[in-house]
């Protein structure tokens, strides 16, 4: 273990804001992208169903 304590870990030698500011934004952006991809797939499936109802009538 290279960190003396968790506090030490989060502080990142006084650069916590920069390090965690980077990684949190990366995590946020990637999660949003995954969510957007999921939503798009659901919408695409919904579109197919809509189309089916159109043709059934």
């Amino acid at each position: 273990m290279i960190w003396a304590s968790w506090n030490d870990f989060w502080a990142m030698g006084g650069y916590g804001l920069y390090v965690w500011g980077s990684y949190s934004v990366v995590a946020l952006v990637l999660l949003l992208e995954v969510r957007a991809a999921g939503q798009r797939q659901r919408r695409a499936i919904a579109q197919v169903h809509e189309h089916k109802e159109d043709t059934d009538i």
């Binding site: 273990m1 006084g14 189309h51």
Partner: protein, 242 residues
């Protein structure tokens, strides 16, 4: 075992294959991501000159590399689509663009947060940072052109041509920006004189692999949605969505 690769050039066949591959890519990506973070934060020691904030490069360097690789892959697919008129290639190109743009954005964001403690400025007109910014512009141009054309066939072909023109231009842009940078004796990003610790390299390459797999998974997921959107009027789509 002979696999008929051409079979998967048909979007409807590819849809199933992609669906099977995505969980694997996503799973391995998560594992490697965790491993990379562990090595990066718990094994790699502090850098002699940069202290702790150098750990930003574990995410900065892989996303920068991938944003450039993805542009080239995108242009390659675009060219394939234009030359051989394969629909799947064009769909791949438009599925790659958002992820590439996102990686370019992450690269700029983390670059700024790394630059502030490094040089005392959020942004320096370094050749590589500037090129990355222009790359982001190229991605945004591709996405907006594709989005503003209603006819999907024309959208595919027009943005493919733009991607190819862009990829021919990228080396010229990079060269000119570098030339401009040396002319003005701007700052150049250099890693501290000491060679990189082994654990640092391991962390960076693990993260690179993780993000690569992530990009594969999310691009394939997006391509599946695109296929479904385009094929919504077919029997095939009705069966898949049922």
């Amino acid at each position: 075992m002979a696999i008929n690769w051409f079979k998967y050039a048909a979007p409807t066949n590819f849809y199933g294959l992609a669906g099977k591959l995505i969980p694997w890519f996503a799973g391995f990506s998560l594992v490697l991501f965790a491993a990379g973070m562990y090595i990066g934060f718990f094994v790699a020691p502090a850098d002699a000159q940069q202290g702790e904030f150098y750990r930003i490069i574990f995410i900065h360097v892989p996303t920068s590399i991938l944003s450039m690789v993805l542009y080239m892959v995108m242009a390659g697919y675009a060219a394939l689509g234009l030359i051989f008129n394969t629909r799947l290639s064009a769909m791949m190109a438009s599925a790659i663009a958002p992820t590439g743009a996102l990686f370019a954005f992450i690269s700029l964001w983390t670059g700024a947060l790394w630059g502030k403690p490094m040089w005392g400025a959020w942004w320096v007109w370094d050749a590589r940072l500037t090129s990355e910014l222009i790359l982001l512009f190229l991605y945004l141009g591709f996405i907006s052109l594709h989005a503003s054309i209603d006819d999907p066939r024309r959208a595919d072909r027009a943005s493919a041509l733009l991607a190819i023109v862009g990829s021919v231009n990228v080396p010229i842009i990079y060269f000119s920006v570098k030339w401009w940078n040396t002319l003005h004796q701007g700052s150049t990003i250099k890693f501290s004189g000491t060679s990189m610790h082994v654990a640092m390299q391991q962390a960076m390459f693990t993260m690179l692999a993780a993000l690569w797999l992530y990009a594969l998974a999310v691009v394939l997921a997006r391509v599946r949605s695109i296929i479904l959107e385009r094929e919504r009027h077919t029997h095939w789509a009705q069966e898949v969505a049922a």
